[in-house]
């Protein structure tokens, strides 16, 4: 019970950090924490070897994101007003409250542990919120990764397949590489 509450709190704290922080390093640290929480949730259902694929692929993706951000001219470190941070946080809180209200109904559809369901749906909702408040590609990628991390927790609780895990890991890395592609300094047309 304590561990479950701790996991829920950690997941919400990590995604809250991603939403509020204006430094890209903090947002990426939030995402890395999310993958760690996801790993701890999944390890309770799956063997360590398979669950660790999720953690490793997620962190590999984060390494790719960080490298592309460091190399990028356009480092997203825009200053955020306190009012904006408060607004974002309150919106996230609203999403989490809505999830508390709808989680029991969803649980009738998806017979998985409540902790996994709550964390999964909250992350998906927060990711959606994260993406909808920006038009910056890196933030869209972060939002997508948050949604996918949330869905991963739900789907892993339903089904365990090596092929799905492998392809899913590949998709995460591809999405992160896409950010690298768009933040590259030199145009591919110019190279040619």
């Amino acid at each position: 019970m304590f561990l479950n509450n701790l996991l829920i709190f950690s997941a919400l704290a990590a995604v809250g950090l991603m939403l509020v922080a204006s430094d890209w390093r903090m947002r990426i640290a939030g995402l890395a924490s999310l993958y760690l929480v996801g790993f701890i949730v999944i390890i309770q259902i799956w063997p360590v070897a398979l669950a660790s694929v999720k953690l490793i692929s997620g962190w590999m993706g984060i390494a790719l994101l960080s490298t592309s951000m460091i190399n990028s001219m356009n480092q997203v470190n825009s200053h955020r007003f306190t009012s904006e941070a408060v607004f974002r946080f309150l919106m996230a809180v609203l999403v989490w409250i809505v999830v508390v209200a709808i989680a029991p109904s969803i649980n009738e559809w998806l017979p998985i542990p409540y902790t996994n369901l709550y964390i999964g749906v909250s992350l998906m909702g927060s990711g959606l919120l994260f993406m909808s408040l920006t038009d910056d590609f890196i933030e869209i990628v972060l939002g997508l990764l948050t949604i996918l991390a949330g869905f991963d927790i739900i789907y892993s609780s339903l089904e365990g397949s090596a092929l799905v895990t492998g392809i899913y890991a590949f998709i995460i890395i591809l999405i992160c590489s896409l950010n690298g592609y768009f933040s590259s300094v030199v145009s591919d047309r110019k190279v040619e």
């Binding site: 997508l144 996918l148 789907y155 999405i175 896409l178 592609y181 145009s187």
Partner: protein
Amino acid sequence: MNAPAIWIIFPAVVSIFLLLIKNRKIRGYLFIGISFIFAVLTIFIKIDFPGEKGLFTIGVSSILNILGRNFILLENDKSLIFMIYCFNASWGAASIILKKHARFIPLGLMYTGFLLAAVSVEPFLYSALIIEIAVIMSIPLLVNSQADRKSGISRYLIFQTMAMPFILLAGWFLAGGEITPVNSEQLVQAILLLGLGFIFWLAIFPFHSWVPMVFDETDPIDSGFIFLLLQSVYFILILKYINEFAWLRNYPVFFQALRFLGIIMAGFGSIGLFFEKSIRKLIGYEFLHSIGILLVAVGLSAARGITLFTYLIGSQLISFSLLSWSVSHFESLEKRMSVLSFSDLTKKRPIAVASFLFSLLSLSGMPLTIGFPPLQTLYQYLAADYPMVVVIMILSNILITMTVFKFIKEILRNNYEFQYLLNEVKANMFIFSFLIIFIISGFFPRTILIRFEHLVSGFDFLIK
């Protein structure tokens, strides 16, 4: 040796090797040649052939096993493979003849491989994951890394990614229900999830906003290639779902929903097209309109709807290709053209303008074009059972025809002589010859469209 290795793995590997070739022209020719070879191989290779093989016949197995899951390409799938690789070759040829630096050369082969993998994977719920990979890898094929406008591409990525969870969850619900679902509640849940997945995939209202935006941000030769293939594969997957699940094809609400969504898309597409000022976005709206018509055809439910769908997709692939090539040809003069500058184009690119207008007319089902017979048959079927749908459908096509007439009026207002047209014929022999074939095919549409009937030959339960 097995069929998936030949038509999925080899093209992907070859496309990586082609990347190493620096010369664009050689790379383009190799892309066309290799695509053509993969298409021709469908004639000589027999899949799971039990009898004696002839002198020029090669027998291969249909199954490739990866991590306990099967990729299966059957003899029935060869028409789809042939169509896809011919499509690749023709688009490669068009890009070279029109002197365009198409971004889909050479990685388009890998993209094609992924799409075929999505169609062939068993259990087919995994197709959602493979489609997602294809979508992500299509993005560098659509835009330059330094593109100034990326909102459409971002939305494309978001909406296509959102589809994946819904399809995967639907697959989990359906896992035990190939014949009958456990209960009616589960049926509703599965259909809801599946429907949401397909709504995101096919850019159905209200998730359609990215289509005109992406078409505006990318060269028509790239967007046409990527989205025509993607749309065809999505529809094949829809048919696969309907074919596999007996209860789904006996569930009338499902087909009702397809018709309803189809008519919304056809309406939205044509209204958007009528009021649009940018030529690139105009193709995007036409794409939405085409999706709507195909959805209505599939929504007719019975075997007649599926056969009609093959004719429609055949005519739309041809017409839409010509439309994209024409616009791409205009753009050698000026990027992101407006419809207001259309009349000037007739002097500089008369054949491309004629092709543009004819392809739009074909897509609206004008008589003597290849799009007329299938659309006319669709009207006939709809008029018998769903008169309201046919009225909206006809109105949407009237809007497209009116748009074409607006263009013609604009041309006639500013140009009094057409002598430069003959001079241009020589310069644009490729598009001109395609236009002539296109017009002639309107007189004998069945000779071409009947080839597309084989696309659904594998769906025994649907075409009985």
